[in-house]
């Protein structure tokens, strides 16, 4: 069940993100995707192996669903959100956009917990919220630096 739900959500997200008009170029979106994937993977290693706060289900479906969400879905949500962020000027709208992306990821994580793909031990959604807010901010900062470099090299 979890596999069906999350693969459908991922496919919808992939199709939407592919066809929607974008402000950021391919190189920037690739960079954001890779950074989110790298940080998330490191944090999950830390939380699962060292802190033992999250336990991954044993079935193939559980594992596939989990990897699909952190390799495809979450990086896609943050890349789309950072792209949207460039379209709006008002600070309040920007803050709402950041929060909605983070809450969407936290909601999807809670969905994984509800579907028993993940079991939380001394971990709850507020930790997820803080974690994803940090990942978002780090990615935003690194992307800003990378964007300067890309535009400089493309205009050179």
């Amino acid at each position: 069940m979890s596999f069906t739900i999350y693969s459908t959500i991922s496919l919808i997200a992939i199709i939407y993100c592919t066809v929607r008009p974008k402000i950021l170029n391919t190189l920037e979106l690739t960079m954001i995707f890779l950074v989110v994937m790298y940080i998330d993977s490191n944090v999950m290693d830390l939380v699962m192996l060292n802190l033992d706060r999250i336990v991954l289900g044993k079935t193939g479906s559980d594992r596939f669903t989990f990897y699909l969400s952190f390799i495809v879905l979450y990086p896609l949500i943050i890349s789309c959100s950072l792209d949207h962020l460039r379209k709006v000027q008002a600070k309040l709208a920007k803050a709402l956009m950041v929060l909605s992306a983070v809450f969407l990821i936290v909601g999807l994580e809670s969905g994984l917990k509800y579907l028993k793909v993940l079991t939380y031990k001394n971990w709850n959604w507020s930790f997820d919220l803080f974690l994803w807010l940090c990942i978002y901010m780090i990615t935003y900062f690194l992307h800003s630096l990378f964007r300067k470099l890309v535009l400089k090299e493309l205009n050179h």
Binding site: N25, T26, S41, L46, L49, F146
Partner: protein, 171 residues
Amino acid sequence: MLLLPEKFDQNEWFIIISFILTYLLILKLPKRFPLTITLLILFFGMAYVQVTDHILAGASYNLYDINDSGKFEWFDLIGWFIYPPFGYFFVYFLDKWSFRGLQIFLYILGWSLIAMLVEWISLKFNMFKYYHWNFFYSYPVYLLTLGIYLLFYLYITSAFKKLKSLRKPVN
């Protein structure tokens, strides 16, 4: 949080020396790519290796351990920085020698053997402990990895060229 090594010995020294040598070599080699492309190749290498190790050596399959224990150590994190230069050298010499067609096939076969040699050396320095993994399983994994690397490199270089041509003034 991140653990220190149980014993600071050969695997830690192997990582430190490999780290210094590979990045020195990147700096010493004449520049071939724009910095954007170089950074993306390195980012890709880091993310790819991290995710692969997370799946194969992490909580779910636990086929092997990296360094002293099955936990996440500082030297696991540092160790992931030594893989990206390998991918960088792979595309660097591919671009330098302008291989085409069957030459690319042989180049990938050759680099997979080099990767096996590096893995064998890292095994001698106790960087990996295999549980349900075999040294020879790594060869098809390297073939796949280098194929993906090649596709990624072709994708980002063509994207860069396309974007650059869009920004050129029309005469």
